[in-house]
Amino acid sequence: MRLRFLLALWMAKLSIPALKITKHNGTNYPGELAIKICPEFLKYVKKPKRIITVTGTNGKTTVSNLIIDSLESTGMKVLNNRAGSNINSGVATALINGVGLFNRAKYDLAVLEVDERSSKKIYPYVKPEITIITNLFRDSIMRNAHPGYIADFLTDSIPPETKLILNADDLISSAVAPNNERVYFGIDRMDTDVTECINLINDVRVCPKCGGSLKYEYLRYHHIGKAYCEDCGFKSPEYDYVAKDVDIDEMTLTASDKGGSMSYTLISDSVFNIYNMITVIAFLREFGMSHEEVHACLEKVHIVESRYQLTRAGTVDVVVQMAKDRNALACSRAMDYVVQQPGKKEIFLMMNNFSDEKKWSENTCWMYDCDFEFLNDEDVTHIVATGPRGKDYRLRLLIAGVPDKKIDFVSDELEAVEKLHFEPHTSIYIFYGTDALALMGKVKDKTIALATQYTERG
């Protein structure tokens, strides 16, 4: 086995310069190759003494990056997989980079983002000291089924000795691996909270203990909030780390825990990113930093808002908004966020999954879990539905109550751009999926060109 492992390691190491020369760096190939040669490669490769993993449906990349940046800002060397992927081969690639030719570990600390579905292939060999679970939501119907399935997956995979940092406002992820040591983070009541769910997706409607109807002291979106059961007394876990007094106008929050509290500057105005921020604060405090040290770290880091890019074109703002295809929850969050932005809006819907369309036909069940109802808003003046599933968008929008006269359908995405109205001082939001980056670029360029032309012409 040792010879096989060393052969795998050397072949994988040899592949790295070859990939750099051919400009393919950033792939999983070294890890893939190593696991192919030695299926138990992850078992034998030397690991840093301290391993932190970050998993969950949303926010794991942001949280991982913030933690890595924070720790590196203090001078630490942190092995990580952010240049690659979060599946077993991505983790293997990171660990290959973390050892020498004779398998000697070069790092004391690793922060690894882990795909939830890959847990069973990673955790038998990679034993984290701490695992952070950001949240668990519905994702791809075909791959992830439902969040309870993923929670069971994690419970079965995470080593019993791993300490968990969990989201108390999420009753699904906070129940993972119930026998593991754990601390909870969350956000205290916010001005924008409600007590009844307005989203189509709410995966915790009944009490997990007795099946009674669950109530919420406050609810943020979907099942995220502070819940209780009137029938049996069950309630959400108490916070160990809590974000209080969130002030979006002043861009501040106060983070409190048993060791004290401190005011922090928000890294973003979206609630999702406020959760990411309190997650990072909880971790850094668990890691042994004082609030002052955490504050100093967070002053030096920032998040990359790659999912939301705004370009001014004449008197029109053109915004490309990622809305992960086949993912009802991601699209709902994106729609909710966009509709809350000020001013009149035109919406351009092209979140089709083009890979599915090439080989099969996209499973569109997600559209009926997605809150298209948010787009039935008086500030949304016009919607262009396009692409292979554009007709499905049209029907879904009608069911959501959007008047037919507000909707245009054109099959071809680039031709569909010409249907936009380009009214001065409006914003055009282009919703695109994860596998439509090249096409989105063309649509964006054409939209900007036409917007500039129309608005300059007056």
């Binding site: 119907i141 075909m142 791959r143 089924a145 439902h146 309870g148 399935y149 189509l200 709410n202 995966d203 409607r205 009944v206 099946g211 009674g212 109807s213 029938d231 009802a328 599915d356 080989k359 099969w360 036909s361 499973n363 569109t364 069940c365 997600w366 559209m367 009926y368 879990d369 007709k391 499905d392 049209r394 029907l395 009608l398 069911i399 037919d404």
Partner: protein, 235 residues
């Protein structure tokens, strides 16, 4: 006119609940929801359509326990021709049992003689094309289990895709006006002809569809796609 939505607190996956909202838009029916601790409305008042959608594996057990006292009432409803539609893995709740891959087995309500084999590491994803009387049904399947055993009268005859299991062409279960199918998601929305068929069973002589033109456009487009011989069917 009334539609009863059974257990939306736990049976709410894959867009299934929108079937009921759309059916209400089509028919003007009032929708009544039954919680897991409630007595189903159909046991004490006239209900024109009872609907239950997909659920989690734990949800299947919860619903089985909640519904057990009302199996006889459902039997009576079936005998009297009451219309019931059950989609996705909710179909299995009314079978004999669900067998798990670890050798364990969960007894179900036993309305029919099928049993399900669940394989949690082997999700089956496919498109579906079938026939009901003289029109075609299209849809999606995404499931951990298939049904086996004594095959009942099917709801649909499969043209492409899997029936109750990949080895049979009969899809779903039909007992009088009780209809159960593994086809999940917006079945009553993307199948306007099936929607009208169900409305007729509910006693509506001239069925009306909300946004009929758009719904027919979606149906015809998808039907043409699903009939393309080169189109992949199992993901």
């Amino acid at each position: 006119m009334k539609i009863e939505l059974l257990y939306p607190g736990v049976a709410n996956l894959y867009g299934d609940l929108m079937n009921v909202r759309y059916m209400a838009q089509c028919t003007g029916a009032e929708v009544v929801e039954t919680g897991i601790k409630d007595t189903p409305h159909f046991t004490y008042e006239d209900i024109d359509l009872v609907y239950m959608g997909c659920t989690t594996e734990k949800g299947q057990s919860l619903i089985r326990d909640a519904f057990r006292p009302y199996v006889d009432a459902l039997d009576q409803r079936i005998d009297e021709g009451g219309v019931t539609l059950v989609t996705g893995n909710a179909l299995e709740i009314f079978g004999q049992r669900i067998d798990n891959e670890d050798g364990s087995s969960e007894e179900m309500l036993g309305l029919y003689n099928t049993y399900a084999r669940r394989r949690m590491m082997n999700r089956y994803n496919s498109l579906y094309l079938g026939m009901l009387t003289d029109f075609e049904i299209i849809g999606f399947k995404s499931q951990f289990s298939h049904s086996y055993g004594e095959m009942p009268t099917p709801l649909f005859e499969t043209i492409r895709g899997a029936g109750l299991n990949p080895d049979v062409t009969g899809e779903g279960i039909r007992i009088n006006n009780f209809m159960a199918t593994y086809v999940e998601g917006p079945i009553l929305i993307i199948n306007p002809l099936f929607n009208k068929y169900v409305q007729k069973l509910m006693g509506i002589e001239v069925p009306v569809l909300a946004y009929e033109k758009a719904a027919m456009d979606v149906y015809k487009t998808r039907l043409a796609e699903f009939k393309e011989p080169t189109r992949g069917f199992i993901y």
